[in-house]
Symmetry: C2
Amino acid sequence: MRLNEGVEWALHSCLLMAWVGDQQPVPTAKLAAAFELPPAYLNKQLQALARAGIVTSTPGPKGGFQLARQPQEITLMDVLSAIEGPEDAFRCQEIRQRGVGASASEASFAEPCVIAAAMRTAELAWRRALSAQTLADIRADTDRSAPQAAEMMRGWYATH
Amino acid sequence: MRLNEGVEWALHSCLLMAWVGDQQPVPTAKLAAAFELPPAYLNKQLQALARAGIVTSTPGPKGGFQLARQPQEITLMDVLSAIEGPEDAFRCQEIRQRGVGASASEASFAEPCVIAAAMRTAELAWRRALSAQTLADIRADTDRSAPQAAEMMRGWYATH
DNA sequence: GGACGGCTACTCGGATATCGCTTGTCCGAGTAAATGCGG
DNA sequence: CCGCATTTACTCGGACAAGCGATATCCGAGTAGCCGTCC
């Protein structure tokens, strides 16, 4: 199991947009240059964020992407769901109903698969932890552990 | 992000081995027949469980796999780690140090990446939830929600 | 000088290739049981 | 009838392909600003 690296790209991009502010859209080219990422592929990830309503896109010169909501209204879960899709990591294939179980009555499987339920419990814990953290939290933590980072990024952004 | 389906196979296989008991090894062929799975590929997953020390393998006739520990000593995390590998789902590529950050001093990155830390927090919640559930719990839950399942499986196993 | 029309350059957006990992299969090494033979 | 050597069949184990999704790239559609021209 491995998350798409687009998740990391999207999170850093959102943080950069939060730093720059929502007065102006940030084009894909600048986001890609800021982290040395392939611009076209990063654009693909940002499109996913736009489809999910996390960012808004404006075409044409001076266009780009900007956060659609306030940072405290954007959770890590939102971003992750936008990039990875809404489905669970563990997908029960109901193999209990195959083979030996194929001859059992349909009522035997009225209760959900216990294994799937257990995996879902863990996944809910993961999702809850992700939903509990917002982009504003990330920003605040960064200001605490690396106070110069935001200013450096803003300075670079203004001069390029 | 999607877990290998081998995870589901391995969990059901472990549950079956717990039902049958550790008096006798269960060959891959029977496990595969029980759930209509491709035998050779299932064998590959069981090998991973053996490497992780979750099951022991005995070759030759009457050979197969059996649980290496008591069910209450086998957590879902153990099985998942054996199949999926021990690495985190989110792998920080330190893209903060690329592009704009490349010119920053090395001391700027003494603190771990905040985004990676946030993702790790969520992942730890997931792992904790998985480690809290053992194969014995799964078995007990199944006895509660589908009491006939274990007996049906044992009956089928004895006659095939 | 001001306003309008056309042009240019820059943006997103989706269609299109390439790569790596998951999935799937195969055959060989080893072992325990079964079997046949000799005592 | 009993014990032993041989054969046999069955198991795991790792090496070898195929399929599919993630990764990466390219080109077209659309728009905002700019420039030249006309009034």
